[in-house]
């Protein structure tokens, strides 16, 4: 590409834009890090299925933002919870939208999680050296489900109340730990205000904190290890790309493609390329 010489004006402008970035880069190296993240190499045959992870991340961010806003109006006590939810939905400007987004988004988040997990499984992307990232993913999945369970109680309507009664009692049926787990989740022998308060704390502080930390680790591993090729690609099937012009060659196995694209046979000369 032929570079057009920049006019003086343009150079000045560029320096102006770059100055704060340079300042930042010199003191933190952050600009380089972001550049590395954005312009890292991914397999040539990456496809739409590879975007499911980022889609999950987006759904999570939407839950974070809408959740923080809901927390400004929600009141976590049995006397006030139901009323405050009614108020958010019916009275406050655009409250229905934010609550609706958070409620539907919760399902979207879980569905995307499973789709992403399915693509990782079907692509065999959990194999060496990415086993650890699969394990991190399993914890992420568990936390996301716990987030769903604790959030479900907060509206304190009939569905919320009885679904949580049943859900906690299912936990209380675990062998050996059940009786302890049930009382711990309820904050006592019976479901009540202690239950709502601790579910609220878990739902908006503890579990999201864990999710943010683990997502960071998850993405660090994705960047460090790179993304897997789709299984139908030559690279995933164990081919190596040789530089001798013969194209992809399967390592360690019989070559699938006959060798030699030399010219027509003639007794007149031998060919070094044979």
């Amino acid at each position: 590409m032929a570079r057009r010489r920049k006019s003086k004006r343009q150079q000045q402008l560029q320096a102006l834009i770059m100055a704060p970035l340079d300042w930042l880069e010199e003191r933190s190296g952050l600009v380089g890090a972001v550049k590395y993240f954005l312009f890292r190499k991914v397999p040539a045959e990456s496809n739409w299925f590879h975007t499911l992870g980022s889609a999950t991340l987006t759904a999570f961010l939407v839950q974070l933002v809408t959740g923080v806003i809901l927390a400004m109006y929600y009141k976590p006590s049995p006397e006030e919870a139901y009323g405050s939810i009614q108020k958010i939905t019916n009275d406050l400007t655009l409250g229905w939208l934010v609550r609706g987004t958070h409620r539907w988004g919760a399902s979207v988040f879980i569905i995307l999680l499973f789709l992403h997990m399915g693509r990782v499984f079907l692509f065999g992307a959990y194999k060496y050296p990415r086993e650890l990232n699969w394990l991190v993913g399993v914890i992420l999945l568990t936390l996301a489900l716990a987030e769903g369970l604790t959030g479900y109680l907060l509206p304190w309507d009939q569905t919320a109340y009885w679904a949580t009664v049943v859900a906690i009692n299912i936990n209380a049926n675990a062998p050996i730990v059940g009786p302890f787990l049930g009382d711990f989740l309820r904050g006592g022998a019976e479901i009540g205000e202690e239950t709502l308060a601790r579910f609220y704390s878990l739902h908006m502080l503890v579990i999201p904190g864990g999710l943010i930390g683990l997502i960071t680790l998850h993405l660090y591993l994705v960047i460090r290890l790179g993304v897997t090729e789709p299984p139908w690609t030559k690279a995933a099937a164990g081919y190596e790309f040789l530089d001798d012009g013969r194209g992809p060659v399967r390592k360690g196995l019989v070559e699938p493609r006959p060798r030699g694209n030399g010219s027509i046979g003639t007794p007149a000369r031998t060919e070094s390329e044979v």
Binding site: K41, G192, V227
Partner: protein
């Protein structure tokens, strides 16, 4: 490997060509089979469960043995150095820099003090998170009002405040039947409405009458008489009980819980709840297999009871 050639950033993470992978093995499958057999056996047959447990242990051991074989093998003896000159160089390279007791001491005491401070801050907080859920679980006695409100041989849906200071969240329901006098002592059947499957509210199968609010020393008690009750049904998963609270159908694992009671100054007073394995006999003559109150779904009798340690923290 092609994979490594394609790594972003162009640099293979590990210059070594061979990944550290465990060799192909059958043990995890056999181990999983053992787990499955154990779980199925718990439901069907103890002998099957025992076989499953043995398989699990054996194949678990074999799996661990195989997975760790590489690590457990004694490290290969260092190859003898070729020439005395290089021997010196190697020795110098491999030796860790000498550590002095003082620096080791400082390192250890930094770690130790850090752990101590961390512990002092964290442990009480963790205790505060967990402990309150297990203390103060005693039950308040509830005054349900005059005996006259409980007609003989008829169930009455009674809704009351189970805790003095909890308001509407603490409202609970019991089905109360006055069995009349037995040996000159009043007899009541007081069944909790909490389903013994997973805790949904069961309903009496009968003809409900008019509701009545009775104000007493324990707050408002709502009373609804129900005629000809044949049993109780749960709306959640179809659990069904007869009129003594014995399970007749569906997933519940035991009979409905009951309450102790006493009569004080002509009023019926509700005592502690307790769990019931099974009720033999009827009304005043019923023999009740009583146990310490347990959460719904927890077995109180049979071999499964050993999966559920009794909640000894309830006074």
């Amino acid at each position: 490997m092609a994979d490594e050639l394609e790594r972003p950033g162009g640099e293979p993470v590990e210059p070594e060509a061979e990944p550290h992978l465990p060799s192909p093995t059958i043990w995890p499958f056999a181990f999983a089979g053992g787990v499955a057999l154990l779980l199925v056996g718990l439901i069907i047959n103890w002998i099957l469960a025992a076989i499953g447990a043995v398989l699990l242990l054996v194949f678990g051991f074999l799996w661990i043995r195989e997975a760790t074989s590489e690590v457990r093998r004694p490290p290969a003896a260092a190859p003898p150095a070729a020439a005395p000159v290089s021997e010196l160089a190697v020795a110098e390279e491999e030796e860790e820099p000498e550590r002095y007791p003082r620096s080791v001491f400082l390192e250890m005491s930094t770690l130790g003090v850090g752990a101590l401070i961390g512990g002092i801050v964290t442990l009480p907080a963790l205790g505060f998170m967990v402990a309150p859920a297990f203390v103060g679980q005693e039950h308040d006695e509830v005054d349900l009002g005059p005996l006259a409100n409980f007609p003989k041989d008829q169930f009455v849906i009674t809704t009351f405040n189970s805790k003095k200071d909890e308001g509407s969240v603490g409202r609970r329901t019991a089905f109360i039947r006055n069995n009349g006098l037995k040996n000159d002592v009043p007899s009541f059947t007081i069944i909790s409405n909490r389903c013994a499957h997973l805790g949904c509210p069961t309903q009496p199968q009968g003809l409900p009458g008019k509701a009545k609010d009775v104000k007493g020393s324990s707050g408002t008690v709502t009373i609804i008489p129900v005629a000809s009750v044949s049993g109780f049904q749960c709306p959640c998963h179809g659990g069904a009980y007869d009129d003594e609270g014995n399970r007749t159908a569906g997933p519940p694992v035991r009979a409905l819980d009951r309450y102790e009671f006493l009569v004080r100054e002509g009023n019926l007073v509700l005592g502690k709840p307790y769990s019931v394995g099974k009720v033999i006999g009827k009304s005043a003559d019923a023999k009740i297999e009583a146990y310490r109150v347990a959460d719904p779904g927890q077995h109180v009798d049979g071999p499964e009871q050993y999966f559920y340690p009794p909640k000894v923290w309830i006074p």
